[in-house]
Each structure stands twice: as structure tokens, then as C-alpha cells.
Symmetry: C2
Subunit: 128 residues, 2 copies
DNA sequence: GCTGTTGTCTTATGTGATTAATACAATAGC
DNA sequence: GCTATTGTATTAATCACATAAGACAACAGC
């Protein structure tokens, strides 16, 4: 798990996002025990309280659950995880398109920019 | 000019973004005088100091300039404005694609999602 | 049963963002 | 020239975020 933060948003919200991404991408598989709050905090380089806050919020979403002293676990509900993934993707798509349309870009221009950038990334990977 | 803020980022950074968008979209045309700091602040529902901070930063970017007591004006440099627009777009595209690829979506899946969403928006507009 | 680890809670402190309330010099407009 | 408006600066107060340090009950594992 790679942890990195920007300074244009609260750390605890970024923690929520990154753990969530870790879950939907399988870095934290369904049913698997997460490292303890303290360990995760150390790993991410944040205060245990901050990590606790993020995990508590993920628990409210149902993506993880805690067993008093045994630790914290990723949900076994694959449907919920897929739902979370689809939800994340949809929000990204909507946010992106809203921003681009607001800037005045036409639909075909957006498609063009996307395919261009995808091509470049592919080229980058090939040359790397 | 529509002002709205989320609580997951400092207001002054959101102000910077929104004024910048206003400039590149022509809501604030090149060379035009902006409302005073106080008026803009009132309009946006924020403190004048916060608006001042945002405008000062836009001034460092060169998108606006201030004349002591006459007010603040949008740059007449269309090249700079177009450059800002392209820069904003590129950042949106990159951020979006990074997020989607990290979630594990394939290139063609991304294209599909985009075109789907664009189709729905078109339908929305048509029905409205 | 003991012990260490777990999630959880509490209190205190520091920092940055934001608001609030002014104040000032410069000057456009009359 | 006067005056109101302008950008700009200063100081203080408030709030959320983040850290720090420590405490507690519960219980898994021995």
C-alpha cells in the first residue's frame, strides 16, 4: 500500500479515499484483516487518531467492520465492494465531464483529448 | 457568476479555481473590470480577506492585474487565457485518467463510460 | 487465568483557514 | 480640491484539522 497526500484536502478524507481504493482494487481483499489502527497509522505516517477517524467513516459505509479486540476486517460482501467501485468511477466521470463542459469543450473534443492522453500513456509504458 | 463551495478544500483555493474558470469561459471577458474585492466577497458569501487572498494569487499568475484605486482587471492577453484553459483541461484529463486506471478500468471501458455519460447528458438537455 | 494487543475515548496543544473589524494611502470622479 | 471607492495591510478571535500522550475495557492467544 502506497500512501501519499496532497495539502489541498484534509488528510483524513484522503485516507478514506486511499483505503477505499485499496479495497475496491483488491489490495485489501474481501474478508482480510487490516493492520491495526496503530500499524496503519505508522505505515501511512499519520497520527493514529487520524487513521482511526478515517476507518470509522469507512465502517459507517459498511466497507469494513471491527471486532473489538481481534482487529478490523474488510467486508466479505463482494456486491458492496463492486458497488463502491462503480460509485467511485461514476463520480469521477461526472466530475470530469462537468468540469470539461463548463470549460466550454465540445463532446468530441473531450473524447479526442482522452484518447490522445491514453495513447501517450500507452507509449510511455511501452518505452519504459 | 455562480458561487458554490465544498467543504473538502480551502475556500480560497476554490475561489481561485472558480474565478479562473470565469475568465477562461468568458464570464469575465479580457480587459474587463472585475467587481471590487468587497463586492465579489459579498456576492460569493465569503470574507473580503479570503477573496483578496484568492485574487492576489490570480494576480501572481498574471490572469488579472490591479490598478491601485481604479479596480482590478482581467488580462487582455488572449494567449495567456487560452494557455490557462488548455492547462486546466489537461490537468482534469490527467487526474481523471489516473484515478480510473488506478481503479483498474481498461482504456476502452473508460471510453465507453465517457460516451455513455455524454449520451445521457445530451438526453437530459433534450428533455429539459 | 495472564498478558499483550485490539478498538476506542479523552484531554491538551499547535497550526492554518476563515472571519471579523479596522485602518491606511492612492486616486478616479465629481 | 473633496470625497467616496479602491486595493492593501494589520490584528484578533474562532474553528477544524492534526498531532501528542495517555487511558480504558474487551478479548484472543498463550
Amino acid at each position: 500500500m502506497q500512501w501519499q497526500f496532497s495539502n489541498d484536502a484534509p488528510i483524513y478524507t484522503q485516507l478514506i479515499q486511499q483505503v477505499k481504493v485499496g479495497i475496491v482494487t483488491g489490495a485489501f481483499p474481501p474478508g482480510e484483516r487490516l493492520p491495526s489502527v496503530r500499524d496503519l497509522a505508522t505505515e501511512a505516517g499519520v497520527n493514529p487518531n487520524t487513521m482511526q477517524r478515517a476507518l470509522a467513516e469507512l465502517e459507517r459505509d459498511g466497507l469494513v467492520y471491527s471486532q473489538r479486540t481481534a482487529g478490523r476486517f474488510v467486508t466479505e460482501d463482494n456486491t458492496m465492494i463492486n458497488q463502491a467501485k462503480r460509485s467511485l468511477a461514476e463520480r469521477h466521470v461526472k466530475t470530469f465531464l462537468e468540469a470539461m463542459l463548463r470549460l466550454g469543450f465540445q463532446r468530441d473534443e473531450i473524447i479526442t483529448l482522452i484518447t490522445q492522453e491514453l495513447g501517450e500513456e500507452e507509449a510511455d509504458h511501452a518505452s519504459a
